[in-house]
Symmetry: C2
Subunit: 240 residues, 2 copies
Amino acid sequence: MDRLRIVLISPRNPLNIGAAARAISNFGFTHLRLVNPYGVAWREARSAVGASAVLERTQVFDSLAEALDDCTLVVGTTSIGHRELNHPLRRLEYGGRLLRKHLAAEPAALLFGSEKFGLSNEDLAHCHWLVRIPAREAHGSMNLGQAVAVCLYELIRDPRAAIAQPKALKPAAAGEVERFSALLLELLDSSGYTNPKTAASTAIKVRRMVRRLNLPGRDIETWQGILRQALWKSREPHRD
Amino acid sequence: MDRLRIVLISPRNPLNIGAAARAISNFGFTHLRLVNPYGVAWREARSAVGASAVLERTQVFDSLAEALDDCTLVVGTTSIGHRELNHPLRRLEYGGRLLRKHLAAEPAALLFGSEKFGLSNEDLAHCHWLVRIPAREAHGSMNLGQAVAVCLYELIRDPRAAIAQPKALKPAAAGEVERFSALLLELLDSSGYTNPKTAASTAIKVRRMVRRLNLPGRDIETWQGILRQALWKSREPHRD
């Protein structure tokens, strides 16, 4: 991740520069490079409260060529199907994989165009290929800070994590569940819910419903306590 | 995607509300719900230039319970390993899959806490489980707008797109490549690059180098033209 250079070309909004730096830090990247940032924007971003270590280390260049000097792969970003079809255009899911592979051994740059105009034809001429964030066509234009965050997330995303099973809640043992059912049936009886004529079928229905609750082992004693208390209260002689 | 309700709890920054709405629109979702937004923030977000259709449709609620009323699954978000371990905590890659599965049939809510405090214990009590954006531990706290964008991207992300092969550039045919090589060798000869004693081995070396270029079919004629022009110039009688 230390091999990726995130390059913002002519950013105009200090908040976007700050947001890009924040995402870079959140996802464990290091290198932010700015090409011809709007002067005020860069000064403001740098002096903002909580400006991160990433901003302190950010390098500023006069030309894109200088900013790319040490990179052996240059990837441009776009959220729209780009009018220029001179470049292979890859969806972020696939492009991210290729970029990650390259970064395993070699430095690479990921380019983001300005808020207003995106990457120019001159910028695109420096790119080996483009990635497209799969936003919907009718509203593909993304906020710069959000586009950076989404691209970096794809790079650190762990495909194996998508299939990892989480620890399920340990269910309560059958004995505990049965004690809970018995308490509940007692409560239904003492509170007048159960019709004596259909008591047997009610008991069966309630036992089934309780099983469907899949009560977790960690909660079963609390549930039993709640029922015991209600049961005690329901048996208290009525005052008025 | 129409079944997901994105719920922001007590957002304080109008830019974040706007950014959340923008990501919702970018990725094709519809429903933004705000619980107790800071009044000024909501008014500013709503009146901002370019406020989207999403903001116009945004619903505001006084309590989280009301905002969740029609949802059969409630998922909280966090970018840090949460102190409260009372909830199953799933990485976004896996949690996103579960949420997507649920959304195929039933409405669900995705909750984002306030910028300063995240989700409170009261908010968490409404959640079935939590997703964690895999930011690094040392700087896990994400910008709200970026967190929304990353979560929604994971939901619309197409795992099959990650393995789809892009159309490769069609390479030039061997005959075209050979014409290019011949022109290049002529140029090397006429410009005095080639040492006549080692001409044969130079030719072999250059042919190998040219093959390694993998010249694309679409560019080969342009490259030949460039060489022809240089060759013509190199044969022009010297003036001075």
